[in-house]
Amino acid sequence: MSARLLVSALHDPAVTVALGADWWNALIAAAKAERLIAALAVRLDGHAVPEAVRPILADARADADREGQQALWEADRAAFALRALDIPVILLKGTAYVAAGLPAGQGRFVGDLDILVPRAMMPDVEAALIGAGWEWVKEDAYDDAYYRQWMHELPPLIHVERDRLIDVHHTILPLTARSRPNAAALIADAVPIGEGLFILSPEDRVVHAAAHMLADGDLQGGLRNLWDIHSLLSQADRHRLAERAALHDLKRPVAQVARLAAALYGGGARLTLWDRLVIARLLARDGWGRETRKLLVFAFFVRSHWLRMPPLMLARHLWTKWRKGHRPV
């Protein structure tokens, strides 16, 4: 089980000293598949690695650096497009970590730009972005309507020249989810990082990452998300984190990600049966980079929908998607 090896190498890079070529191949393939190869490269900095491994790690770090640079430029362009609205533009996820120089941004691949703005300003934000060259990705009327009615973000927009996606959020969970985070508090406590940009407070960053990972997803890319959380936890005050988790109605997910991060990347934790199931899903990756445990993976896919919508609505949604030809996995 190579995801297990990846997790132990991130926890303690010294375990790689004894690895032979076969294990290195497995470690590298799993790390690439989980988009953690650059984070692994950062962790292995200063450790002796085989000659053939060095350029692979250097390539990964260069890729992450380039993605970070592009992400900063996208954030800059979005702030520029929205400057007339005079609202805080709050960066989320990877772009926030890189822009603020957080440990979680080290070796972090950053794809889309995610921002959070006040819900009342969504129509103005949308108009300003479209005026600055962003356009719709989703052509499908059902998907578009679904986003607008039920999601916590606009349908994704892509920039016509730079080909980069932006997700504009007004809160951190879909409106159909069981929990209702306090978006006003997220915005009120955001931290300025200069040039009109903000990031969430250290504790809210953990809350958001926990909500994203456990309350809103099928755990695709979960090891990377949990690595983010592990890094974010180092900057959060535990007492304040508990308060914020309660405020955002996300006590259980926040407590669980803390246990999972400690179990996989930290000093260990007492795990529940449910924790162990989640970990089995997180580690479903072999030494060729393939996903394993198909049934478990599918069960988490089903669960992610279950969490997102009440049963009747879910049935209607799946029926609509099925008729359109969408098939899971």
Binding site: G20, V53, G289
Partner: protein, 287 residues
């Protein structure tokens, strides 16, 4: 995976896994003269896996993926397994290689200097490189030329040469059947047959050379040689490179230097013999 082999081509090492024996057996035979890489750490993992749960045994169908993959990659028949493996390696290079600027071009070397030939699939650049490789030139590669950003050298990537349709007969007459792989009929690009580069090309696959001439060959029309405007050369090479954007400033600097220093011509040729004569003439004119 059930079957696996590790291959090194120029600077890149590939670990190729397959759910079926045949593609790996084909690779083992055709790459027998290449360095033995058993037990090596690979730059890339390639996977030839079934497209669905039963597709290993029932109507076998290959999904090509690996470290880098395309979600909508077309499935391939097991009969074309060798081609699938080659495409899997190309995919890793195209999407993942960062150590050189990758040009979709063939290249050959003579007296330490390199002729680079770039063009669309079907332009004749592979065939021309294969033929030149038998006529006193050293074949460096038929698919990717690697431009080293620091030194300006072109480095070889001499994988199997992929011959298509009419080129198969032309090259078979030149090299004989022993250096050719199985004939793969009716692939998405027509009939395909792979050619093993000659011993020199393989033995010297770590040896680069400075570029001396860039050609844009085009098979078909009447013989013609035209100059190409530097701005057009630059644009066409950025389009012929899959990692130009990813390399950022280093890629830009290397490419502008290449365009500034290497003379270029577009050539149209009605046959391989005409092309070889045109290349020899252009090459000696530079002396």
């Amino acid at each position: 995976m059930r079957h696996a082999i590790t291959l090194r081509i120029g600077p890149a090492t590939f670990r190729i896994g397959s759910a079926w024996a045949q593609p790996i057996a084909d690779l083992a035979r055709l790459y027998a003269a290449y360095p033995d890489m058993r037990g090596a750490v690979a730059d890339f993992t390639v996977r030839l896996q079934p497209t669905g749960p039963i597709r290993r045994l029932v109507r076998p169908s290959i999904f090509i993926t690996g470290d880098h993959g395309l979600a909508d990659a077309a499935p391939m028949s097991l009969a074309h397994g060798l081609l699938a493996a080659e495409m899997g390696m190309n995919l890793q290079m195209a999407l993942g290689w960062r150590r050189h600027l990758l040009l979709h071009a063939s290249s050959v070397e003579k007296d330490g200097r390199v002729l680079v030939m770039t063009g669309e699939s079907g332009s004749g650049k592979s065939t021309l490189a294969a033929l030149l490789g038998e006529r006193g030139w050293r074949l460096m590669g038929d698919e990717f030329a690697l431009l080293d950003c620091a030194s300006g050298l072109i480095l070889p990537f001499p994988r199997l040469v992929s011959l298509k349709n009419r080129a198969i007969g032309v090259v078979e007459r030149e090299v004989g059947a022993t250096r050719l792989g199985p004939l793969l009929r009716a692939t998405a690009k027509g009939d395909i047959r792979h050619m093993i580069p000659d011993a020199r090309a393989i033995a010297r696959m770590d040896e680069g050379g400075m570029p001396r001439l860039l050609l844009f060959p085009r098979f078909g029309p009447a013989a013609d040689v035209r100059p190409v405007d530097p701005a057009e050369i630059f644009m066409r090479l950025t389009q012929a490179s899959t990692n130009y954007v990813a390399l950022g400033e280093a890629g830009f600097a290397a490419l502008t230097r290449f365009v500034g220093q290497v003379p270029a011509r577009a050539i149209d040729f009605p046959s391989g013999e005409d092309a070889i004569a045109m290349v020899d003439r252009l090459w000696s004119d530079l002396a």
